[in-house]
């Protein structure tokens, strides 16, 4: 006789239906918290996991393990976040329940303070080896790196902190533009809200494509956001040159992007041979003169796209690209988005608001 159910009698089936879900079958997701934590690094991914757990219940997929989210601090009790809001850590590092499936380490603006806390580092070194997935959000990568857990790995962090992370941990292979990076079982994400993107991808790994699509819609975020971190960064990793003449030249290029910046002309300004100039410039600023000029032009064009309504051709002409095609290619290369998309995404909200106020005021002729 073939057995359709693992239980020989109906009582067993009823037990199965009436028994609340076995808490052991849920994947435990632990978030580490510490003073001055960036609250969105914590709450964004935390919400994603909570919604995923609820999604499983709503869709009746009770046979799949959901998520049990816990918050762990150095000591149990309130932790003050960078914005001043207090979070309660339900568990301390010492009484943290075992068998963590996914350990998430958020970041914060003054992450070095957390890195200097031996208790946190020690806990990470002892806990991380036993987790299935090790995750950092934003500058949380600094804590993992400090614990020696990222050595030689491909990682990312907040675009503003990439240079600092590279200086502290030279063996890391840091990708500045990526929203998140996976290397084996170690996942690192870019700045702040990039943690939401990463958490959605972790859900997809576990539950398939449907859950993250639903949750992204619910949270009103991109499931897969277009472009990388670079489109959000403010200016080139301004590696300040020591030589005052080259520093001055860079300032001049930034102020006059539309000039002809051929290497010969730049070299002539400093009374150097083109060859020597190119060599000196590269050594001082970490990029070739042509690359620097391209960066400067993209930067100038970004400002114009954000703050004016000029046509793309006009922007390209005013910023030294000459044609909008060349501007398009540079944008794709450096920012991973087209000028049109960039403008649509970043055009100043102040301008839009201003326009709306202006229109609102027109029909008003009241007392």
């Amino acid at each position: 006789m073939t057995t359709l159910l693992p239980f020989p009698n109906l009582d067993g089936v009823e037990d199965l239906i009436s028994t609340p879900r076995d808490p052991l079958r849920r994947r435990r997701v632990a978030f580490l918290v510490f003073d001055d934590i960036e609250i969105v690094d914590l709450s964004g991914p935390l919400d994603v996991f909570q919604y995923a757990d609820r999604w499983l219940q709503i869709t009746g997929r009770d046979n799949e393990p959901g998520y049990e989210v816990i918050v762990v601090g150095l000591r149990a009790g309130p932790v003050r976040s960078a914005s001043g809001l207090e979070i309660i850590a339900a568990h301390s590092c010492d009484d943290c329940p075992g068998e963590i499936d996914t350990l998430v380490v958020p970041g914060g603006p003054w992450i070095e303070r957390a890195c200097a806390e031996p208790g946190l580092i020690d806990w990470l070194q002892k806990t991380a080896p036993r987790v299935r997935r090790l995750v950092s959000v934003c500058t949380g990568a600094f804590l993992l790196a400090r614990a020696g857990l990222l050595e030689n790995r491909f990682v990312t962090t907040h675009w503003m902190y990439c240079d600092r992370l590279a200086a502290l941990h030279p063996s890391l292979r840091i990708n500045r533009d990526r929203i998140f990076v996976r290397d084996g079982h170690v996942y690192t994400s870019g700045g702040i809200t990039a943690g939401i993107d990463l958490a959605l991808s972790l859900i997809e790994e576990d539950l398939g494509r449907e859950a993250p699509r639903f949750i992204a819609g619910l949270m009103v975020v991109f499931l897969r956001r277009p472009g990388g971190q670079n489109q959000f960064s403010i200016f080139l990793q301004a590696e300040a040159p020591n030589r005052p003449d080259i520093r001055e030249l860079q300032a001049w290029i930034l102020a006059n992007p539309a000039e002809d910046h051929a290497v010969q002309r730049l070299a002539a300004r400093l009374n150097m041979s083109p060859r020597n100039f190119a060599r000196q410039f590269l050594a001082e600023s970490g990029m070739t003169p042509a690359k620097f000029v391209e960066h400067a032009r993209v930067e100038a064009a970004r400002c114009k796209l954000e703050q004016t309504n000029l046509l793309l051709e006009a922007v390209a002409a005013e910023t030294g690209f000459g044609s909008s095609e060349r501007m398009q290619r540079s944008f794709q290369r450096l920012l991973g988005v087209s000028p049109q998309d960039y403008r649509a995404r970043f055009q100043s909200t102040a301008r839009l608001e201003g326009r709306m106020r202006h229109e609102d005021s027109v029909p008003y002729h009241g007392a």
Partner: protein, 66 residues
């Protein structure tokens, strides 16, 4: 036993070793050997009975072994 890891990276090997040893009831602390000072400090604070170097690119300062 009180064990101290002096290691350049807490990599897969070092992490696996930590699991095996803690499962056997040993007390393991990890010190990243970023410089002599860090190694000396780690050794002084943990007072280990045994030092293991799972992946060490630097040399251990004489003061620790003596």
């Amino acid at each position: 036993m009180k064990i101290l890891f002096l290691t350049t990276a807490h990599n897969n090997l070092s992490q696996r070793l930590l699991i095996e040893l803690t499962d056997r009831g040993h007390d393991v602390a990890v010190t990243l050997a970023s410089n002599d000072e860090a190694m000396l400090k780690g050794a002084a604070e943990n007072e280990p009975e045994l030092i293991i170097a799972p992946m060490l690119k630097a040399s251990i300062p004489k003061a620790i072994t003596e």
